[in-house]
Symmetry: C2
Subunit: 413 residues, 2 copies
């Protein structure tokens, strides 16, 4: 059996994701799709609007066969770390291909761009340092530095988010000497940052979330054209149970309490709280009535919104700097299965013995500091739920076995 | 001018407190009553149902002339620490008397009991150790040890809470060699723990709170017979602004988040989290749907409910053990005025120069680690308020000058 890996967030699963899944399978001629998916917190430093279980469900129905959780520290990280950990998990499960969506859609351009950047590394690094010293944020300094190089021929447009992420996948695969082919599929429909849904059958997840949350009472019907019916159902089910989609607004009371109650010297020990940001955080939170006003007041040229959002999540989840650095250095220590189809289960049976990381079906199966961290992080996510269902949700998180989906019948077992 | 000190919580101010104030002034023939009052968190490890500002207001209207805040660490402490700090603040302001309510009402009995306990100290200590080792809580072991001694004549009933507290006041005055006379007034009306209000004109604060919170929508009219009209008004005003009285229920979502999000090794560094309680806390909170179910599951013979409630407050307020121990050893480092009448202000002018602690009218006037702590603690209390008024409340706490009351006109200035 041949497996193709994809690395995803599905916040929420939409028609573009469905297209990516089908094309990945077709283009790589694979029998099984392994989706490495962020858990309850996402790369740009936000909570997922619905939980990982709901999202894993839609992924299985959409055609993925194995859903693997990308652990929190790797999921809530800059592109290179995110990409490297995703590739590592796919490698552990012996995926033979990785297929990602990109604005470019031309895999040769990725190889070409990486090699050009390698060749001009000294120039690039100097330019990057100089832009960085001028106070530009990491991504801005990176893209300015790339722009200052001379390019032999057409290069990737590195201002586009999925090109950047794709380049990191290709780089991570090369660095890890994983025997995996890289494939890319051109993203169709709306661009990543487009915020309107019209007659598009394919809209970005950003625009779907915007539309969902644009009215006081989020309405699933407003985005039905852009998502499969099972996503609508998952969203409706979540709304029914939770009364709201989970956003930074749901978690803001807890973040505010954390920042107000914690002494500055303790905040400073948390991951990404650097360069005296602890004082700025404590002063800013006193005047902030919402997450948005807080972030707007906190933002400077030096830090991107995303970098600050990730820091806020690490504060909320009480991630200590040494713990984070040790775990990130080590890489993901296990493969956690959130769900599988019958195809995925068959594939898993064939590769389980070759996997070079322990494969877990529940968190209780392994003693590891990262598992204690994952459990804390899950519980924090549920802090945004109605008070009366939090204990139920925490219990489920510890005890839920992977979702099992029978593809031929289109049913969960 | 002669000042008499009293040490109070006023949660809320009721007819018994009014009687205590009048009798204290009369019995000690004082011109000025100095009330040392707990801030937003109280001796038994609970938030006050209304804020210190509302309570200070009722105290001024009830006849107190200077309202001094007992800082958090001393207020949320066992009786000996609470009493010692209260006496220290009164001493700093040159009070010549201290008058407390007690079940006994006989000041000689306090002196007699203390001297008997001193004489039999070795026996007492042995008995205490032995009961303690059997797993009895501190107050239970104390009272059993006292019961095992032989008493020359009638002794104080040390099972009664105001007798115990009174003994600690008398002891603290003796230990500090404060030139202050001790007076006591027999508590009249309902006993401390009585929980019903009937036709009593004097009911305990405990029964008043129970009655207030007995219906889903707290009703101030139900307790009007037991409190002065200005207390009813303060309670109604608070309800109107806050939508609820502040209780552990208001703060439980924050405590739950704190316990779930904080690693056990970090909880262990907090004050009063001892003997492996961090693991018990983390396990118990996973199943708790309310503060009451949490506490009931946490409680063992070894720890009193009060001891555990105080620990929960220290966790909620992130009080580190070394910080707490250093501050408690040092004693209160300043005298913070929450409110004063014209009489109080005149008195303050006459003693200000003799005061051996800095006298503060706002928190911003002094650099001290305890002030940083007080500010954090205040902000945590406001975490129980509706989200939209928290920033306003935090701002007020930093900038509000002391309340000023003109006694002759019965008006605030």
């Amino acid at each position: 059996m041949k497996a193709c890996g994809i690395i995803v967030e599905y916040n929420p699963f939409h028609n573009g994701h469905s297209y990516h899944l089908q094309q990945s399978k077709k283009q790589t001629q694979s029998d099984c799709i392994i989706a490495v998916m962020s858990g309850n917190f996402l790369q740009r430093g936000e909570p997922a609007i619905i939980s990982k279980w709901e999202r894993a469900k839609t992924a299985l129905m959409g055609g993925a066969d194995l859903i693997i959780e990308l652990p929190y520290l790797f999921a809530v990280s800059p592109a290179p770390v995110f990409a490297k950990a995703g590739v590592r998990l796919l490698q552990a499960l012996r995926a033979e291909a990785l297929c990602f969506g990109s604005e470019s859609g031309n895999i040769d351009l990725f190889y070409h761009t990486i090699s050009q950047l390698e060749k001009q590394k000294v120039l690039y690094d100097e330019a990057f340092q100089s832009y960085s010293k001028q106070g530009y944020s990491f991504p801005k300094a990176s893209s300015l530095a790339a722009g200052s190089l001379s390019w032999e021929s057409e290069a990737l447009d590195l201002s586009l988010p999925n090109n950047i992420l794709g380049m990191e996948y290709v780089r991570a695969m090369a660095d890890s000497h994983a025997p995996m082919e890289a494939h890319t599929i051109k993203r169709i429909g709306a661009s990543f940052h487009e915020e309107r849904i019209d007659a598009h059958q394919i809209a970005s997840a950003t625009s779907i979330r915007k539309t969902l949350n644009s009215s006081r009472k989020p309405s699933v019907s407003s985005i039905e054209g852009a998502v499969p019916s099972y996503t609508s159902e998952a969203l409706s089910h979540y709304m029914e149970e939770n009364g709201q989609f989970t956003t930074w607004d749901s978690l803001f009371p807890l973040l505010r309490y954390k920042l107000l109650a914690t002494p500055a010297v303790e905040l400073r020990k948390l991951y990404e709280v650097e360069e005296g940001l602890e004082y700025r955080l404590k002063e800013t939170i006193r005047h902030a009535d919402s997450f948005h006003t807080f972030m707007t007041a906190l933002k400077t040229k030096r830090y991107t919104w995303t970098r600050l959002q990730r820091m806020c999540l690490h504060i909320l989840n009480h991630i200590s700097r040494p713990d984070a650095e040790a775990a990130l250095k080590e890489g993901p220590p296990y493969v956690r299965i959130l769900g599988m189809s019958d195809v995925g289960q068959r594939y898993l049976n064939t590769v389980k013995k070759q996997a070079d990381l322990p494969v877990l079906t529940t968190l209780s199966r392994l003693q590891n500091p990262l598992i204690e961290l994952e459990q804390r992080v899950s519980a924090v996510y549920f802090g945004g739920y109605p008070q009366e269902i939090i204990t139920k949700k925490i219990k489920e998180e510890y005890s839920t076995p992977p979702l099992r989906f029978q593809r031929s019948k289109g049913q969960f077992i």
